[in-house]
Amino acid sequence: MSRSRVWFFSAVVLLMVSAPLRALTYEVGGCKTSKSYVNFTTISAAVIGVPAGSTIQICPGVYPEQVTITQPLTLKGITFNNANRSVITINPNGNLAPNVTSVIGESLYAQLLVQNINPIGPVNIIGITVDGNGGPQQGCTDASGFAGIFYASGTTGTVNEVTARNQIGGCGLGAGIWVENGASPTQSITVENSSVRNMDGPGIIAVSIQNPATLVATIRGNFVNSANSLQGNTEAVGIWAEGESGTVTNNLITGSGIGILSSGGADNLCCANTISGNTLADIPGSPGTAIALSAPGDSTAQLNKISNVSLAFDLASGRDTVKSNASMNTMYAVWFFCNAGNTVSGNTLSDSTFGFLQAPSLITGNAIYNIDTVQTGACP
């Protein structure tokens, strides 16, 4: 047998083996109907009915469901018949229930819950809209909250090109996308290219309670918009890294009370974050802060652009690096809280009423323009 004929037969065998596998596409909504499709009518039925590792295509349409995913898979919204919005909504019959407790103790109503993944593997959510309109306005208790997408402890995966909207919890606890880890081993979760809007809590939040952190979140290229402080929304945070070690890059954040918050978590022992290339605007009032670095690690904020906010940088933790950022049209540029451990250099700070608030010493090494009072606020 000639060599080329061997190749030919091998190819035919490969085709025969792989053809049945390729033929099965899992679909929800009924827009794709041929022998090669396995159809489901609900997302909930699909996520338990497919083999682990499958991709489930979601037809454009409205899915009034509370979804729990417990195996690795990819959920993907598709375009059909000139529509592209596959939207998970609140069931108007009101069956949304608390379905998970966060590592920080909050009982949560999660619209799309990723939990207890078996076998271990990533859960990816792509091109889906999660709309919280009509969700639990359960009033102001600190013990409960509301999330559009929730990745519980021990889970991993990617959220890409998603829309999360209208997660209003009633007292600052409505979150768009919430990812967390409360146990080792370390998990990696990516939230990217998503549109997150109209929350009264964090747009995107990543939480870890270990030291060192067991969650590495990559939060990039998202557009987050929330009502701002002047509109009575002082607790909204655009992107919140709480006790985790990750990167927050190239996001566009407008509105909210704090644009990007890096905080130490429950025990306030951890961690460091890199916050770079983000653009933040329209964060007036109080707190009205673009970037707040209060986690006790050595965080870095660089190459961010900040416009029309009350305070550009809040350096409460005292050991952070703020460099090569540009801020304009602010009340205050940088608040040091009299901490001596921060490095603030190479920034361009323009058009501020005050430049440096409670700086422990004379701050040099930045380009300063159009600032009424460069340094203000005495330190002991």
Binding site: G77, T79, N82, A83, N84, R85, S86, V87, I126, G127, I128, T129, E161, V162, T163, R165, N193, S194, S195, R197, G221, F223, N225, A227, N228, L230, Q231, L252, T254, G255, T279, A281, D282, K305, S307, N308, A326, M328, N329, T348, S350, D351, G355, A367, I368, Y369, N370, I371, D372, T373, V374, Q375
Partner: protein, 393 residues
């Protein structure tokens, strides 16, 4: 005499000659004193009193003046005694009110707070680190401008702050930040960069030329425009950056109109490009790397075929990219009512230009008037309607 010694004497001679020139620094405001400073009490006195090409340092403080610059020079705000704000304000009500001081090639008489005009000898006028505050300048509904570069002028505006160019209560809002134009045949180059422009009700930054080909090349980059138009009744459009007939590169600007605007009208524009008054289509712009958000209106709009929009980020606006672009590539549009509208009305559905690699996410309506073959070169996610009816084939 050895060669070394000759060089030494030459160097000494140069030092002696140049020393007196180096010693003179021009200053306004009185924060710098001493034999090496020539002091002026007003910016107006300084800009006419220094030799052409000088740099004038402006001390922090308030300068209630209407300034006209008619020779090449650099005006530079400096830091002194814990302040770096040198602010030109309206001399009102104690002094003479703002007067019309220039006629625009496009818009009639303009009341300019800082006017650059009839610059002799020819050369650049640079304005750096100055604040121009228009508070009170809108009384009587003038066409108000913070900084105005008139025909035949050139230079750079860098790290400037423009604020409160507002005309409250006027039927047509007409408060403008930085205005550069050329109606003459000699080519001019003007750069506006790294500036903060906020609280205006007409145009933040604009470049205008009425020749074809354009005689104004404008570079508008790295500026932050915010909080524009907050008037209850808006009878005219307002925009962050406007180009009329000039050849402009509009890049890396950050434009938000503030989230306090009531969505009663979609009459706001982030970046807008028009042909000139003679409809000389072809003096095109490139808009790249801009971020436009929080604007109840149109993020980037072109009214002439041939413009380019690349790698812009647009969010929380009524509509993303609109009308006659030639090249629309790699833009990201999220959270819009109409993500991306291509309305080449004559003929509709024309497959002109390059429209590819754009990402449209979270729109009520993604595309309009665009052939399917072009739509397919882009990425759509979470959009209610991909193509508005009537759909193109």
């Amino acid at each position: 005499m050895s060669r070394h010694l000759a060089w030494f004497f030459l160097a000494v001679a140069m030092l002696v000659v140049s020393a007196p020139l180096q010693a003179v620094t021009y200053e306004v405001g009185g924060c710098k004193t001493g034999a090496s400073y020539v002091n002026f009490t007003t910016i107006s006195a300084a800009v006419s009193g220094v030799p052409a090409g000088s740099t004038i340092q402006v001390c922090p403080g308030v300068y209630p003046e209407q300034v006209t610059i008619s020779q090449p020079l650099t005006l530079k705000g400096i830091t002194f005694n814990n302040s770096s704000r040198s602010v030109i304000t309206i001399n009102n009500p104690t002094g003479a009110p703002l007067a019309p001081n220039v006629t625009s090639i496009e818009a009639g008489p303009v009341y300019a707070q800082v006017l650059v005009q009839n610059v002799i000898p020819l050369g650049s006028v640079n304005i750096i680190g100055i604040t121009v505050d228009g508070t009170g300048g809108g009384a009587g509904c003038p066409t108000l401008a913070g900084i105005f570069y008139a025909s035949g002028t050139s230079g750079t505006v860098n790290e400037v702050a423009m604020r409160h160019q507002l005309t409250p209560g006027c039927f047509f809002a007409s408060g403008n930040g930085i205005w550069a134009e050329n109606g003459a045949s000699l080519n001019q180059t003007i750069t506006v960069e790294n500036s903060s422009v906020h609280d205006f009700d007409s145009t933040g930054i604009q470049a205008i030329s009425e020749q074809f080909p354009s005689t104004l090349t404008a570079t508008i980059k790295g500026n932050f425009a915010s909080n524009f138009v907050d008037v209850t009744v808006q009878h005219d459009r307002a925009q962050g950056i406007q180009n009329i007939g000039a050849t402009s590169a509009i890049m890396d600007n950050f434009i938000t109109s503030g989230s306090g605007n009531t969505p009663s009208t979609a009459n706001l524009f982030g970046v807008i490009s028009y042909p000139d008054a003679n409809d000389d289509v072809g003096n095109v712009i490139t808009a790249s790397g801009n971020t436009v958000a929080d604007l109840y209106g149109y993020a980037i709009t072109s009214q002439q075929f041939g413009d380019t929009a690349k790698s812009n980020k647009l969010s929380n606006v009524y509509a993303g990219l609109v009308v006659f672009f030639a090249v629309v590539e790699s833009n990201t549009v999220m959270n819009t009512s109409q993500g991306y509208v291509f309305n080449a009305s004559n003929p509709q559905c024309a497959s002109e230009g390059t429209i590819s690699g754009n990402v449209v996410n979270d729109s009520s309506l993604a595309f309009f008037g665009l052939p399917l073959v072009q739509i397919q070169k882009n990425q759509v996610d979470s959009d209610d309607v991909v193509q508005m009816s009537p759909q193109c084939p």
